[in-house]
């Protein structure tokens, strides 16, 4: 059996996390993992919704050493939780929120006992062990599971650490503005520090002032893992920030203008990461140098008809990508936007097919369609619109029904009530026809 360490830190006294200004050692972390592992219920599947990144990571590690699987759904709507329970009837929820009302058996993150130095060892994990199942929303409402085993997760973030130059024993600390439950957050703010002997901050800063406040509580060298949205707001807030060794951005491509502004104002190199739930991260670029993405070592892209597939390296099974990609050579490519059907709003993913399915399944909706306006800039969040034929429904009732099924970021704005959709003679609804409909109604 081939195994890989849970963490790569070579000393039990090294700092693995910072929480509210306090350093947490590897030894304390491992003791917390052991303590929580002993409290976990019998079920094999765990929905870890802890907001504190340290709690999340202890939960993830406790699940790993107990041979349990973390399930990571794209949203927590009542419908998604039901589907999760159908998928894994033994699923339970680990949370760190006193008001958690998730309709599953729940375990609250415990108050940890005072740490006493004892003999601890770093667990070795089978590379074949199933660690996580990450879900994407399919086209018919049923989520699609993507299995992640230990070997591929570790190889992925170790390749990333090497690419980013984080293996220098420099004790980096990573602050993330993205949740650890998101694939990018899981990789870049949890597994990356664990597998590169670095540390992470427990915080999940929300406002620009929270980001600067969190950065001030950790020592240099600091890394900020964020998104175009948070980085733009951080720049606009015009706050004084401590020195940053590196800034990462993912979930949507940054504009060159914003990338330049970030590097100039925050005085930090900015590296963008390209990846997907299915593949994990597969490429990076230093945006102010080049628009071209460089694949991680051993990862390959292959053109097959209109689609580009990723394989090799940590990508165990070849998967098609949802983006329009131009291969420039064996290890580089350009990104030309998303394939028509895929929707990605601030890192949350769905498809028009899936959203339309939910819209048309609502009682009282005779016909309906979502529409994604052309993105004016990746740095601003573009929202969906929708038009419906639903003479007996109010906007409020329709939105309330949708809210049970889809993540709030996908709720249409505006929602137009029409007498009929602009379908052609064969019943097809073209994007152009929808575009015309919305441009007329907005004027």
């Amino acid at each position: 059996m081939q195994t890989l360490s849970l963490i790569t830190h070579n000393s039990l006294y090294k700092t693995i996390a910072w929480r509210k200004g306090t350093a947490i050692s590897v030894a304390k972390f491992l003791a917390d993992v052991d303590y929580l592992a002993a409290l976990l219920p019998a079920g094999k599947h765990i929905l870890n919704i802890c907001r504190d990144r340290y709690h999340f990571t202890v939960g993830l590690a406790a699940a790993i050493v107990s041979n349990k699987v973390s399930v990571l759904p794209p949203t927590h709507t009542p419908e998604m939780l039901q589907q999760l329970q159908t998928f894994a009837p033994d699923v339970f929820c680990l949370h760190d929120n006193g008001n958690c009302d998730i309709a599953l058996p729940r375990l609250s993150y415990p108050t940890m006992p005072e740490y006493r130095a004892e003999k601890v060892s770093i667990p070795q994990i089978d590379v074949q062990q199933l660690i996580a199942i990450v879900f994407t929303s399919g086209s018919t409402g049923a989520p699609i599971p993507h299995a992640k085993n230990w070997g591929s997760l570790v190889h992925n973030v170790q390749a990333q650490a090497k690419r980013l130059g984080l293996l220098k024993n420099a004790d980096y600390c990573i602050v993330g503005t993205i949740p650890p439950q998101h694939m990018y957050g899981l990789e870049s703010t949890v597994l990356l520090p664990l597998q590169s002997s670095n540390a992470f901050s427990s915080a999940q800063p929300f406002y620009p002032a929270d980001i600067s406040g969190t950065l001030e509580t950790i020592p240099a060298p600091r890394i900020l893992a964020s998104t175009p949205l948070h980085l733009r707001l951080l720049l606009e807030a015009d706050l004084k920030l401590p020195e940053l060794a590196l800034t990462l951005s993912a979930t949507a491509p940054l504009s060159l203008t914003l990338a330049h502004k970030i590097e100039k104002t925050l005085k930090t190199p900015l590296i963008e990461i390209y990846g997907s739930t299915e593949t994990g991260q597969i490429a990076t670029r230093h945006t102010t140098d080049t628009a071209t993405w460089q694949l991680l070592p051993k990862v390959q892209l292959t053109q097959s008809g209109e689609q580009v597939w990723a394989s090799g390296g940590h990508v165990d099974i070849a998967v098609p990508l949802n983006d329009i990609i131009e291969l420039t050579d064996i290890s580089h490519f350009l990104l030309h936007g998303r394939t028509q059907d895929l929707i990605n709003i601030a890192g949350k993913r769905s498809s028009l097919a899936n959203l339309n399915h939910h819209l048309n399944a609502i009682d009282g909706v005779i016909d309906g369609a979502f529409f994604m306006p052309d993105e004016l800039s990746h740095d601003h969040v573009t929202r969906l619109s929708a038009c419906v034929v639903a003479p007996n429904l109010t906007a409020a009732a329709l939105l309330a029904a949708l809210r049970l099924k889809i993540d709030p970021v996908f709720l249409p704005r505006p929602l137009l009530f029409v007498e009929s959709l602009p379908r052609n003679a064969t019943g097809k609804l073209s994007r152009q026809a929808l575009k015309n409909l919305f441009s007329v109604s907005v004027d």
Partner: protein, 89 residues
């Protein structure tokens, strides 16, 4: 004071409508209705955008941990009261 807050409330409502390109007018926003979820239907991305325009306009910084963030954004009235108490310009 109450009159001041009424005009401040309208001003904030206008900032929100503008920043978020809302499908409603400032006067139509019910000051008591929740901004999140079922009321005005804002989500966390909107809250970040609103926080930015409010911070810039009134010279204050919102923090999620120091104050009860959900309370501040629970209604237009509560947001207005928070801004009135913390504004510096």
């Amino acid at each position: 004071m109450i009159e001041n807050n009424t005009s401040l409330q309208l001003e904030i409502a206008e900032l929100m409508v503008q920043a978020l390109n809302l499908d409603t007018t400032a006067t139509e926003i019910d000051p008591e209705a929740p901004l999140y979820g079922d009321g005005l239907g804002l989500d966390s991305i909107d809250i970040l955008e609103v926080a930015l325009v409010v911070s810039k306009r009134y010279g204050l910084q919102l923090k999620a941990d120091s104050e009860n963030n959900h309370q501040i954004f629970s209604s237009l009235r509560n947001l207005t009261e928070y801004v009135a108490a913390h504004k510096t310009n």
